[in-house]
Amino acid sequence: MKNKIKVLVLLGMLLSATLSIASAEFGQTAGVLDFGTLKLGENKTLTYWVVNPGETTIDVNTYYVGNTVSVSPANFTLVPHSQQQIDVTATAEHLGSFSGKVRALGHERGASGVVVLQTEMEKNFVYKVSLSLKTEVCLLLIALTIIFILLYIVYESIIRRRR
């Protein structure tokens, strides 16, 4: 009789263990991706990690919202207890200050139901774009030339009046 009870208890434990679905966990390293100030035409890559410490497999899509950056890889799979490096590249195409968010959307593989829940990790990025040194020197030379021409014109007009 005692053995039967033990067997039933063990079966019950096994059944409850089978029915308990492991919940998805999805994370990332913290902090803002701050590219600093880029020169026009320059590009810079920063990295961070997304992690799957849980017991389920997660299919991940990465994308950005806000100003343009490129995110790589775009799609990948995180098996249980794994991590993936994400490369975010900012390209300085226009002058100004830029910001946005990089997102990693996780689809728990095999999840089904009336309402499927998805987890998503979001990371902020910022960068500024200034002129390149070559452009700055060119603009400075142009400005100096204009100033020189203006001074020459003023000088000439003064000399003519005196004559």
Binding site: T29, W49, L117, Q118, E122
Partner: protein
């Protein structure tokens, strides 16, 4: 051999012996110090979004009715060691996978139990969840309810709800 030559020889020999002894001591010291292994480990700051379930269900809801005070609850936890600065949620429209659908806003949510009508309508774009700045190991509950429009065709409808954490 003169005495001064012998003296120079002896002094030179003693000097060499002292240099050799010092070198030996140095080597022994170096050997000993190489046994001192120092280790370093960096623990990165991370935030970790954890939901207690991957799906919820409302069962059978008749057209023109809602779930009333019965909510489906999802626990949202930050299992990381860094604070999550912003937690948002959004959803898709309800669809049977074919031509039948109804709008996402028929789903309502709240961070506490509510009777349908008193919750916040879910939207297709992200909305910040009140109290969503979750410290490490902190959690919040999301309560969901739904209303099915009158004259909605009978079918099994599905929706996807996304919870986003920023850090």
């Amino acid at each position: 051999m003169k005495n001064w030559q012998m003296l120079i020889g002896i002094v030179g020999f003693v000097a060499l012996a002292i240099v050799g002894l010092l070198a030996t001591v140095d080597m022994a010291y170096a050997y000993t110090s190489s046994n001192n292994v120092t280790g370093q480990v960096t623990v990165p700051a991370e935030c970790m979004l954890s939901l207690n379930t991957s799906s919820i269900g409302f069962g059978s809801v008749a057209a023109g009715t809602n779930t009333g005070a019965t909510n489906q609850v999802v626990n949202v936890t930050n299992n990381g060691n860094a604070q999550a600065t912003n937690t948002t949620t959004r959803g898709t429209q309800w669809s049977d996978g074919g031509v039948n659908n109804f709008v996402v806003g028929q789903t309502q949510y709240s961070t506490s139990g509510f009777t349908y009508g008193a919750g916040t309508a879910l939207t297709a774009s992200d909305v910040v969840i009140a109290g969503g700045n979750l410290n490490k190991l902190a959690s919040l509950q999301l309560y969901f309810g739904v209303a099915v429009p009158a004259s909605q065709n009978p079918a099994t409808y599905n929706q996807t709800i996304t919870v986003t954490m920023n850090c």
